[in-house]
């Protein structure tokens, strides 16, 4: 008989026993590893959003898992409440002022971490069921910023950035939202779609500005005159002295029994007669200009001919090389007679 058939019952018994033992061993180790029989302490926290949170999510302290999330629920005010437990071995770290922070990777990979920051508080650990604020809310941020919690000082740079960028991004997001809202309101007010005191003020300002523009145009002429006068008045040796000196020309002009006035008037009359004579002389010269021009042209021709004679005499074969042939070039001067006659 084959060994298997002969010892079938033993083999099957061993086969079954080993399987059951394996299952039992797995369950025991699971129980130990997952702390089935250990005492856990439950606490409550609150977050703005449930994204990144999930049931069974580990709560970490300096990289160690100290607890896990048991329950997540959306409250009436649209905030998220979580119930979580802390292992009994780490219960003494749950001191007053402790804070929870959901650290999410800003680049989208690496998942989220629920980080526990123990408070720097005096006294016994918080009672089971106590509320531990998260950094999603003002109280948690206040504790973190005012140094009421022990933060990870020696964590790596990336984790530090990841842990801190969450609240910064939240704040930035809120600021952007507020700015957006404010800009929308201003835009609505300026476009007139939203009634308010600012629109009335702006309309009145527009009218005032139009009136002011007209006033300024008038004022600019006055200002120019004033500027000129002011420049003359600023010279102490000039107009001012003449105006103020009792022996000055102004005073004399004003108080000399019209002597200066008469004298000036006679000068003006003489100047007027001289100007008339000059005018008649100019007319005469203008009339004689063609004759003068012709005389000058004739004189010039005579001089040219005399020059030829002199050169002919110089170049005479009897005397020397004779007379050079003359190339007449047109005169650049064209008198009134050349054109008109």
């Amino acid at each position: 008989m084959k060994f298997r058939i002969r010892y079938a019952e033993q083999i099957v018994g061993l086969f079954t026993l080993l399987a059951i033992l394996s299952l039992a061993a797995i369950l025991i180790f699971m129980g130990i590893n997952q702390r089935w029989f250990a005492k856990d302490y439950s606490f409550v926290s609150q977050f703005q959003s449930g994204s990144g949170l999930n049931r069974g999510m580990a709560i970490k302290l300096k990289g160690f898992t100290i607890g896990a999330v048991d329950k997540i629920e959306l409250l009436e005010d649209n905030t998220v409440q979580i119930n979580f437990h802390i292992f009994d071995t780490y219960y003494n770290r749950v001191l007053p002022n402790s804070v929870l922070q959901l650290a999410t990777s800003p680049i989208g990979i690496g998942g989220s971490n629920l980080v526990f920051y123990p408070g720097i508080g005096q006294g016994p650990p918080l009672e089971e069921g106590a509320f531990i604020p998260s950094t999603d809310f003002a109280e948690g941020r206040r504790r973190l910023e005012s140094g009421l919690v022990k933060t990870d000082e020696k964590e790596d740079a990336v984790s530090s950035v990841v842990n801190r960028i969450g609240p910064i991004l939240d704040s930035t997001y809120k600021t952007i939202n507020s700015l957006n809202s404010a800009i929308t309101r201003i835009d609505n007010t300026l476009s007139g779609t939203q009634p308010g005191p600012l629109l009335d003020v702006l309309l009145q300002t527009q009218q005032v500005m139009a009136q002011l523009h007209e006033t300024l145009e008038n004022t600019s002429g006055i200002t120019a005159n004033l500027e000129k006068t002011s420049a003359q008045l600023s010279d102490t040796q000039g107009l001012v002295q003449h105006l103020l000196d009792p022996k000055g020309s102004v005073a004399k002009l004003l108080d000399d029994d019209e002597e200066l006035y008469t004298h000036i008037q006679s000068i003006i009359a003489e100047l007027e007669s001289s100007a008339a004579e000059l005018s008649s002389f100019a007319g005469y010269v203008n009339e004689q200009q063609p004759s003068i021009t012709a005389i000058l042209q004739e004189g010039r021709t005579a001089l040219q001919e005399s020059q030829d004679v002199m050169q002919g005499l110089q170049n005479n074969p009897l005397l020397r090389r004779g007379i050079t042939e003359e190339y007449t070039s047109p005169s650049t001067f064209r008198g009134m007679r050349d054109g008109g006659y």
């Binding site: 058939i5 099957v12 086969f15 080993l18 059951i20 394996s22 180790f29 699971m30 590893n33 690496g110």
Partner: protein, 259 residues
Amino acid sequence: MLLQRLGRQSINSSHDMLYGAGFFYQSLVASLQFMRRRQVGRGVITMQLLFTGVEALSVIALISLSLGAVIIIQGVNILPQFGQGVLIYKILITVITRELGPLLCAFVVIARSGTAIATELGHMVVSHQIEAYISTGVNPIRYLVAPRFIGVTLSVILLNLYFNVFGLVGSFILTQFFQPISAFEYFHNLLLYLRTPDIISSLLKSLIFGLIISHTATYNGLKVQQSSTEVPQMVIRSVVQGFTLCIIADAIITMIYYI
């Protein structure tokens, strides 16, 4: 004509299903009574466990070791690049424990034992052994079906446990030759991510797959009428029904798990 044929087929299918359900009920009752009464067929259970369970262990071990090692090596190389190294444990548990473990065990048992049971019972019908049992007052369901029913179901459950052990533990040992990883870290994380619902789901699937395989094999085996040429047809039918019903049951249980 077409309607008539369609109607006839529907009536036959319904009749077949009702008959199958009745057979399943009888088998289940007989199996429960068999456990309580400790009848003479205990040796049949032992032999069934030996043939279906022990002898399939080598195949199961090979499949689970290979599958587990591939998952670990791929996961260790790829997942840490995305900062998701711990996902390897979830993937191992999902693939080995929850999904492929029970299903591959079922497939192996269908291929090895389901066919053997259907063939054996079919030939017993053809050779009038069943009629002989009935004529001597022995209930063939109690004597022939119940021990196979229990044996196959227990075998699938036990093989699934071994599949998990080899897939999760053995593959780790195998991986050490290619890519050593910390044993403490591996088992610590594995046991941390392995949850009771995963084990319950896996065992539940094994139980249901075992029931399906044993039922389809015995039902189709005993469905042979008189000719030996019907035997391979019924064997093929039992294999196809076994695969189909196992996959449908797997889908249903997985959906229930996530509800």
